[in-house]
């Protein structure tokens, strides 16, 4: 319990640093009034806009105002939508979670069996296939894979829609784009983890006792090698949320990423701040959950700390 409270408290400095960096970077990117208004705007229009949104106040004053609002649950009002930024961000989260969930599902369903098989049948065709997938998945940029999948499955084969949403048929391509990348990592992790476990004494003991190979793999090898894989999956969740930003924009998936990119393009700073804050907080939160999960699965971690 003490551990959990300690971890929760550690979120506070993280949030302070994140908000400061986000706020500072937006501040450094230039005069928001000039950016938000069309190029035809006159000096008076720019000055009026600056005053209206408090952009002409000193940096620390603006930051202080932001922090004060944040504590009260007010992340500012979107300039474009004229609605609270926080509620716009919260509205988009379900769609992004759906996309992330599907991405993980695809990655786990593909990655764990593929990694297991390639560990069990080393240097076989399946092992080579797994390596090819790993290399491709890790090295292909998301946006490129996105268009490859879009042209193949939507434009040419016509099996799936190119873009849009929400809905199951719309989520498949963007989820596959993100999932493919994560599949690569899970495959590699599963493979090496299983190979390592197979070398352990308890596996040799189990085999020596005459336990069937199937039971050895499932009960002894898998169980012990799954831990690092779970940790990787949990850590990937943060990456997936970040990757969703680019992929949602490409597939016009109406989630947090699309909102964020549009907000950046429209210089709708309150939304950018709220979205980045949310992403950072979820990253911290996921790490916390994965740590707790880790302790739950592996009693050794608990005992070594207490």
């Amino acid at each position: 319990m003490k551990y959990i409270i300690g971890r929760l408290l550690s979120i506070i400095p993280v949030v302070l640093v994140v908000t400061f960096v986000v706020f500072g970077m937006l501040f450094l990117s230039g005069d928001p009034a000039v950016l938000m208004l069309p190029p035809e705007a006159t000096t008076e229009e720019v000055a009026a806009f600056r005053a209206l949104h408090g952009f002409d106040d000193p940096f620390l004053e603006q930051y202080g105002r932001f922090l004060k609002g944040m504590i009260q649950g007010d992340l500012g009002t979107s300039i474009r939508y004229n609605r609270p930024a926080l509620s716009l961000v919260l509205e988009r989260i379900p769609a992004t979670l759906q996309l992330s969930g599907f991405s993980i599902l695809i990655a786990v369903l593909l990655g764990i069996p593929l990694g297991t098989l390639s560990a069990l049948y080393r240097n076989s065709f399946i092992d080579y296939l797994a390596s090819v997938i790993s290399v491709m998945g890790q090295s292909m940029p998301n946006f490129w894979l996105a268009f490859l999948l879009m042209y193949l499955f939507a434009v040419n084969l016509g099996w799936l829609p190119t873009s849009g949403g929400p809905g199951i048929k719309y989520v498949i391509l963007p989820a596959a784009t993100i999932g493919f990348n994560v599949t690569a990592l899970i495959t590699r992790m599963t493979r090496s983890s299983i190979i390592e476990a197979m070398r352990e004494d308890y596996v040799r003991t189990a085999r020596g006792k005459g336990v069937s190979e199937k039971r050895v793999i499932i009960e002894h090898v898998m169980r012990n090698s799954i831990l690092p894989v779970i940790s990787v999956i949990a850590l990937q969740f943060g990456y997936i949320l970040g990757g969703a930003v680019v992929v949602e924009q490409i597939f016009a998936w109406p989630g947090l990423g699309l909102l964020t990119v549009q907000a950046i393009n429209n210089r709708d700073y309150p939304i950018v701040q709220a979205a980045v804050l949310f992403l950072a907080l979820s990253f911290v939160f996921i790490n916390l959950v994965s740590d707790l999960f880790y302790r739950l699965i592996d009693p050794r971690i608990r005992t070594s700390e207490s």
Binding site: S29, D31, V34, L35, P39, Y81, G158, S163, A252, L258
Partner: protein
């Protein structure tokens, strides 16, 4: 590695064999690069809101299919003196629910726009309006606080779109967005924020030009390549804002076509005329002569543009089509010698990234052309957020490039800004020109005003006050089965789309 490359070759091959699904004649689906935020006209601002407004709402004036300003809700309008305009509404105009439109609806709407409490972003466009007086259901007058020859232009389309007083009083501003009631050719069917918006034909439409498609849907597809893929996959019938570099992708697909037309955005150069070397008119002329505008258009815009000599696009009121920029680098060198720069000179050239259109590539190309005749530009490219304030404070380097989208075809009061020596426009103290601009802005006789504008434009070109580069065109792509008239004010009036014969 071999397996990998084989896979890529296969995938690449598949990309070039594209199947097109035929469109239904009743429905039109359009992929657009933005999404609306509000539908209530006097609260809506931004490109997509303006476009969607033309589906649902109408103003007293608009641009007809031939791009000239015509009365829409107004059957006629005239200035009876310098500050009084008489307007007469057409017979039998109804909102889409069948209730008649009256002069009271116009007054109600315009009073809302002018009310500071309402906070309408269109208030500045009504800046000169002092009062609206209803005479009867069909007739009313607008009184302006000062002579304003541009009033009919200023209140066109979204800026003066009329809403129903009765409906507004029933539902209020927020619910007007959800149940927009206008006199336009379409009515709202469904609107999902940042996803899509669909319209059904207004069966009660009062106008003579009845809408053709039963349903028009706009899908929000922010990524350029995704819009093209959606068109190739047959999911949409037409797309807007095709980047010039992706035109060959469309042209290479059977069943698809490019639809293009004049745009409003003028690219140009501004020089600091207050100090050498650009205080010398010969040097400014040399700059203009040294620029191969056709090459800029071909290389940067795949040919989708026209050369211009100053900030004025060819649609501009009073524009003389005889004024065309000349490319003659030899003459440019000659002028530099005459101006006292036989060995040329070095100068600072500002440009920026991150605007609605690309400026930095234009600057790079122009710098290369100027260097060939001896004017060596030291290019400084910054983010718009950094460059913008410098420009507004006249703190730029000796030269910078900029652009202006003029959808009114009449710069009006902006003309005075261009010669004010402020907001990045360095030209100042030209009393004769200022007097001519004042005279034009107060001239109610259209032909006389056009003549004055012609003289002003010529002065801008002769003095090199603003050195024009090119006008950027609009590019759409559509299935062969769709006809869409591109309008040169860059307003997308999708209700004018129809099936191709």
């Amino acid at each position: 590695m071999k397996k990998l490359s084989l896979l890529f070759i296969l995938l690449a091959l598949v990309l070039f064999t594209v199947a097109i699904v035929p469109a239904s004649a009743e429905d039109l689906v359009i992929g657009v690069n933005g999404s609306p935020v509000r539908l209530l006209p006097f609260k809506a601002v931004g490109r997509l809101n303006e476009i969607i407004n033309t589906m649902l709402f109408e103003s007293l004036t608009t641009r007809g299919a031939d791009d000239t300003l015509v009365g829409l809700l107004a059957e006629s309008y005239e200035a009876v003196d310098d500050v009084t305009w008489n307007f007469k509404l057409r017979d039998g105009i109804t909102f889409s629910d069948g209730t008649p439109l009256t002069a009271n609806d116009v007054k109600f709407t315009y009073d809302m726009i002018m009310d500071p409490e309402v906070g309408s972003p269109h208030k500045t466009f009504m800046g000169t309006v002092a009062a609206i007086d209803v005479i009867d259901d069909q007739n009313f007058t607008i009184t302006t606080s000062q002579p304003d020859v541009m009033l009919p232009l200023r209140i066109s389309d979204i800026y003066g779109s009329v809403i129903s007083q009765k409906h507004f009083e029933e539902v209020g501003a927020d619910d007007y967005d959800k149940s927009p009631l206008g006199t336009g050719p379409y009515v709202l069917e469904e609107w999902v924020l940042d996803s899509h918006i669909s319209f059904l034909k207004n069966e009660n439409y009062w106008g003579a030009d009845k809408p053709v498609y039963d349903r028009i849907t706009l899908r929000f597809l922010p990524d350029d390549a995704t819009r093209i893929a959606a068109l190739q996959a047959g999911e949409v019938d037409m797309i807007t804002n095709v980047p010039p570099t992706l035109v060959p992708e469309i042209e290479g697909t059977e069943g698809l076509k490019i639809i293009s037309g004049a745009g409003t955005r003028a690219h140009y150069l501004i020089t600091d005329v207050t100090k050498p070397p650009f205080d010398n008119v010969l040097v400014r002329k040399a700059v203009s002569l040294a620029i191969d505008r056709d090459a800029l258009i071909t290389v940067l815009y795949q040919g989708y543009g026209v050369p211009i000599a100053s900030i004025f696009i060819p649609q501009t009121f009073g524009y003389d089509p005889e004024i065309v920029p000349v490319y003659n680098p030899e003459e440019a060198k000659q002028l530099l010698v005459e101006a006292g720069y036989p060995d040329g000179f070095e100068f600072g050239f500002d440009s920026f990234t991150g605007s609605i259109t690309d400026h930095s590539k234009v600057a790079e190309a122009v710098a290369g052309m100027l260097e060939k005749v001896g004017m060596k530009a030291n290019l400084r490219i910054q983010e718009q957020g950094v460059f913008g304030p410098l420009r507004l404070e006249n703190q730029t380097l000796e030269m910078y490039n900029y652009s202006f989208g003029d959808s009114t075809f009449d710069h009006g009061l902006n003309l005075k800004t261009f010669v004010s020596g402020a907001q990045g426009y360095y030209w100042v103290g030209d009393e004769a020109l200022v007097a001519k601009i004042d005279a034009a802005l107060a001239e109610f006789d259209e032909s006389k005003r056009a003549a004055l504008y012609g003289e002003i434009i010529k002065e801008f070109v002769d003095q090199g006050i603003i050195i024009g580069l090119f006008r950027q065109d609009q590019i759409f792509a559509a299935k062969d089965s769709v006809d869409y008239p591109v309008q040169s004010d860059e307003m997308f009036r999708f209700f004018r789309a129809k099936p191709a014969k």
